[in-house]
Every structure is written in C-alpha cells, then in structure tokens.
C-alpha cells in the first residue's frame, strides 16, 4: 500500500517510515502541510498519517483541504495535544482515527492495518479475515475455502465484529446493528449468537474475546 506521512519531527518521521516500510508499504514523508496537500492532489495514497502540530499550515487545515477535494483515503491523525476539543475537531473534520503521542509502534501498525482493511473492504463485496471470507453480495461465508453455514443473525453479529477487528464492541452496539427486524433482542440472545459463532470459528483460529460487562472483540488473526 502507498502511505503518506506528514510529520515535521524528523526522528519521529524516519522512525515511522522504517516501521511502516517493514510492514511492506511504500512510504512518502513530508514535514509541511502545503506539500502534503499538493502531493495528495497529484498522486493517490491509500492512507495518510497526519500530524496536527505542523508549522504554517496545520494538520486541521490539511485535513479540511483533503476532504474539500473529496480525497477518500483514510487519515490517521497524530497529535501531541490531548485536549478533548482537539480530538472532537479532528474527528469532525473527517479524521478516521486519532492517536496521542507518544504511542507504541505495535498499536500504530495495528491501527494502520485496521484502517487499510476497512477502506479496502468498504462497500466491497468481500470481507476477508484470515481463513474467513464473507461474500456480502451472495451472502455466503467461507472458512478455509469451505462453505460455512451461518444463520441470518449470526451473519449480522459477525459483520459487526468484522467491521471493528481488535476493537471492543458493546452488546448495545451489536443489538442496535442486528435488531433491524422489528423484534426485541436481549443481551442474552447476543451471547447465544456469539457462542454459536465461536464454536464455528475457533477451530480455524479465529477468536472472539469476551469483555466482561461490556461486549466482545474479534481478535486479529495471528497465523
């Protein structure tokens, strides 16, 4: 994938570049907002990592211009400021994720993977997670290339979890996403669907973690 890093701190920028290159991405780096805007207008990037505290044109302005120019690529905002208003402003301007410096590299690479996966599968007919593949048009699921039988609600719950791999999803959020059929769903019913999904997916190494009193998290598939 082609990534653009917009960060004016040279040591951090070079560190990020090497880590993301090690992940197999092609990475461009600039320390100036104006350059980022012009680079994005000439070339296509799959993801931008954008620092807010840039000299002259700041990250908020860069983000605003990306979105004004209808650039669809996901933007991961980096900030040294943690004021809540900054976070809200970044997300309002169309940032896809938000990280406060300093951060652990595994967390950054995990978020980059999640953003890329989401944007690649966004609206696409096929969702892939390790050995699991969902064909959303034909509504067919495959596990290790074998057809997998999923009840309608199991499918719906799995889709919600797949949209947020490595993120915890509350039971309420699952109920809201699944209960489009006019009938009430209890948190207990969600537990039943998740336990059925587990018995089908765990043999293939796909894990759904329970977060006590909160909800579930589909773990990243580790070979």
């Amino acid at each position: 994938m082609r990534l653009l890093i917009v960060e004016d701190d040279a040591p951090l920028a070079s560190g990020l570049r090497r880590i993301l290159e090690a992940e197999g991405h092609a990475v461009d780096v600039t320390g100036r907002g104006e350059e980022a805007v012009s680079a994005a207008s000439h070339e296509r990037f799959d993801l931008v990592i954008l620092d807010i505290g840039l000299p002259q044109m700041d990250g908020f302005e860069v983000l605003r211009r990306f979105r004004a120019a209808d650039k669809p690529m996901p933007v991961l905002v980096l900030t040294a400021r943690d004021a809540v208003e900054d976070r809200v402003r970044g997300l309002d301007l169309g940032a896809d994720d938000y990280m406060v410096k300093p951060f652990a590299m595994p967390e950054l690479t995990a978020r980059v993977r999640a953003l890329l996966r989401r944007s690649q599968s966004h609206g696409g007919p096929r969702i892939v997670h390790g050995p699991l593949a969902l064909d959303t048009v034909a509504r067919r699921a495959y596990l290790k290339n074998e057809p997998l039988e999923l009840a309608a609600r199991e499918w719906a719950v799995l889709e919600v979890l797949l949209a947020k791999v490595e993120k915890i999803v509350s039971k309420e959020a699952i109920i809201q996403a699944v209960a489009g059929w006019g009938d009430d769903l209890s948190p207990n019913a969600i537990e039943v669907y998740v336990s059925r999904l587990r018995s089908k997916l765990e043999p293939a190494g796909i894990k759904i973690r329970t977060v006590r009193g909160f909800g579930y998290m589909l773990e990243e598939f580790k070979g």
Binding site: A22, L78, A80, F214
Partner: protein, 446 residues
C-alpha cells in the same frame, strides 16, 4: 482608608445640623417672644390704669384710697408678685413700694430692674391728677416670663431636635442600606470558587460601585488571560515534550524488533522502559498542572459511564498486554465536571489496578449512583494496600515500600487532586472477599 464611611458622613453632617439648630432657635424665639411679652406688659398697664383711677386731688393735696378688696384683686397673679408705686407730679411717693426703682431715663415706658434681690419688669403709666399727671409704676417678678421663654424655646426647638436626630438615624441606617449591594457583592465574591474567573455582573450593582466593579473585572480578565497563557504554555510544552518522546519510542521499538546481541537487547529494553515511563510521567505532570485551580475548564454535564465507555477499548488493550481480565459494571453516573480531568482520574485508577495486578488477575471498573451520589470505582484482586499505607499512597511521588512496578507515585495523587477539585471523596478499601484493592470516587449530588 480604614475610616468608616458612616462615621465620616456623620462627622460631616453634625456641625451644619447643630448650626442650623441654633439659628433655628434664635429665629423662632424672638418673633414669638415679642407679642407674648407685649401682652404681659399690657396687663401691667391695665393694672396701672386701674390704680390711677383711685388717685384724687383734694385742696392741693393728693389722696389715694384703694380699697383693700380691690388691691387684692389687682395684685393677684398666679405666678408672680405684683408691686406698684404711685408718684405725684412733684415726685413724691403717695402709695405702694417707695423703693420700686424709677425708669433709668425720662421716657418711662417699660424696663427691667432688680428689686428685693429679684429680677422684675416694670411699666410706668401716667394718670391725670389735678392739673398734672401722676405716674404709676407697676412691676412684676419674672416667673411667668421665664416660663414663657422656656416654653417657646422648647416648642420651637423640639421639632428641630427630632428632625436632627431623625437625620442622623437615617444617615446611620441609610449608609448601611445604601451599602447593601456592596455587601451582597462581597458575599458573591466570597462564595466564588477560585476557578471561577468570569466578570462580575455589574447590571444589578448600584451606579456608584461601577468603577470598583470595572476595576475588579479588569483584574479578573488579567488573571484569566494569565491562566489562558498558562494553558497555551502547557499545550505547547506537551507538544514539545511528546513529539521527541514519540520519536525515541519509535526508534527504540524499531531497534528491538531486529536481531540483537543479548546484552544490547537488555540495555535497549531498559531504554524502552525508561521512555515509556518518561512519557507517562510527562502526561501525569501535565494532568496535575491542569488540575490546578484556574487551569480547569468550565464544568459541564459528564456521565462517568460514557467516559469509561469511550476509554474502554484502550484500557482493554493495556490489560490484555499484561494478561489481565478487565471487566465493567456500568450504570449511568451523571456528574458536573471537567471531562478531560475525570477521564485522566479514571485512567490513572485503571492503569494502577492493571499495573499492580498479577498475571491472570481480574480488574473491574464500576460506575453508577448510590443514594443519589454518582460514583466510579476500580477494584482489583492484586496484593492490595495495607491499612497503614492507605493515607500515604495519595501523596505525590509516594510509592509503597517494595513496589516493583514502573509507577512514578503520581497516579493516586492526581486522582486525589482531581477528586478534590470536583468536591468528590476518595475511599481506599479492599476488593471482594477482602482481597486486592478498591478505590472509589464518590461525587456530591449533582
């Protein structure tokens, strides 16, 4: 400047009021005194005329035969003793008191004199006798006149005295009443929290206090500007500190991901740990600075349940990294406060619980309300805090003896500071089954 406004006003008012009183007395006394004494004199003249009618001329000599009954009637007076003296045109005294003083000059009329050691008032009346005129002096003591003087003075001064006293009383209470808005203002300022730097509303204050309020509001504006500057400085300091730390962490982790000789790896691991500790310490110091009065934002409605839900994902990942089972029991817990600081307080509690838990341990975050008081608490099943240490762990930079973790000793101090700023209390106790540690923050009624 320590002078009382009230005493000052009274001191200013007293001399003119006293002067007015004196002038008023004089002005009222003389005009009312004159007709009154005139009437008394006329009574004496009448007596003189009556006495004169008893003087007869007979063979070139004068006779005066006042019957005793008449004399008694004429000389009867309720208050005063009446004297008389009848003089012939030649100047001989034919009746009455021969020692009654004559007029000091020839004009006669009415005059004051001393007689038998008493002050008296005398009028002289002329009565025809023969070819000449006899002169009759009629005198009375001053008792009636003195009473009259007293009565007139009293009746004219009394209303003025009442007026003067009323004026002083009105000034005394009027000043208190007039200064009432100032007193209310000082109450309002006294009750303000140190974090409230809003200008004082001048609309309700009296016109005269506006300059004072304007000056006060100017000062408040300067203080809050200074506080905003401090906020900007903190934000900049955070940026300046965090960005190089992020670079340091990136390169350390990058280096650690490569094959390294074991001693170098161990050293680099130390650098990595130190970097993470430094970053956390920087965050905590910033949080402490932001928790200071004056640096805080305006309180708003915050639901602790929502705060936890927003942070749950990050915390669960921290817990998973240490193989800790982080769970939640969340009920609505509405409070008034600063969302950033509340998040920071809860994050510190959760971080501590995860940090001091053993592998495979359980940490539970709860929010809700007990008896109408919103609360948030974090419970773990780790080693817990011995009773003797519970007071000290809330102090800044204090770490329990034998603690191995990477903590700075600031976490609970930050929680305490933030709780205090929200009027909330902290309770340190044991977890379920007398195991581990439970830290609860309980908020006052919203």
């Amino acid at each position: 400047m320590a002078r009382s406004l009230r005493a000052h006003l009274l001191r200013l008012l007293l001399p003119p009021i006293a002067a007015l009183l004196a002038v008023g007395a004089v002005v009222a006394y003389y005009p009312s005194m004159e007709p009154a004494t005139e009437a008394y004199n006329q009574a004496l003249v009448d007596i003189g005329i009556a006495i004169g009618s008893y003087v007869h001329t007979k063979d070139q000599s004068y006779a005066f035969d006042l019957p005793p009954a008449v004399e008694q009637v004429l000389r009867t007076d309720r208050y005063d003793t009446i004297y008389y003296r009848v003089l012939t045109p030649e100047g001989g005294t034919i009746a009455g008191e021969p020692d009654l003083p004559l007029a000091p000059d020839a004009s006669g009329g009415s005059y004051d004199a001393l007689f038998k050691g008493q002050r008296i008032h005398i009028v002289s009346v002329l009565a025809p006798c023969g070819v000449g005129e006899c002169s009759i002096l009629v005198a009375e003591t001053n008792v009636k006149r003195a009473r009259l003087t007293r009565d007139i003075l009293f009746s004219s001064l009394m209303p003025q005295m009442v007026l003067a006293v009323a004026t002083l009383v009105i000034v005394w209470f009027g000043v208190k009443r007039g200064l009432g808005p100032l007193a209310r203002l000082s109450e309002e300022i006294k009750e303000r929290s140190p974090r409230d730097l809003h200008p004082i509303d001048a609309a309700a204050a009296p016109e005269e206090t506006r300059p004072l309020l304007a000056a006060l509001n100017g000062l408040l504006e300067q203080v809050s500007e200074a506080s905003r500057n401090q906020q900007r400085f903190l934000a900049n300091a955070a940026h300046q500190l965090r960005t190089p730390l992020a670079g340091l962490q990136a390169h350390t982790e990058l280096a650690l991901s490569q094959p390294l000789p074991e001693p170098v790896r161990a050293q680099l691991d130390q650098v990595h740990q130190a970097t993470i500790r430094t970053a956390r310490l920087a965050n905590q110091l910033l949080a402490l600075a932001r928790a200071e009065p004056g640096a805080r934002g305006d309180p708003s409605h915050v639901n602790l349940k929502g705060v936890v839900e927003a942070e749950a994902d990050a915390w669960v990942h921290q817990a998973l990294a240490r193989d800790v089972d982080l769970g939640f029991e969340l009920e609505p817990a509405p409070v008034q406060g600063d969302a950033f600081l509340l998040r920071e307080a809860l994050a510190n509690l959760v971080h501590n619980a995860i940090e001091y838990s053993t592998r495979g341990g359980r940490v539970t975050v709860r929010t809700g309300a007990r008896d109408g008081n919103a609360f948030a608490e974090v419970e773990d099943d780790g080693p817990g805090i011995p009773l003797a240490e519970r007071g000290r762990v809330l102090e800044r930079f204090y770490r329990m003896p034998g603690t191995s973790g990477t903590g700075s000793g600031l976490g609970l101090a930050i929680v305490r500071e933030i709780a205090a700023g929200h009027g909330a209390g902290i309770e340190l106790g044991e977890g379920a089954g007398s195991k581990g540690c439970r830290v609860a923050i309980t908020f006052p009624h919203a």
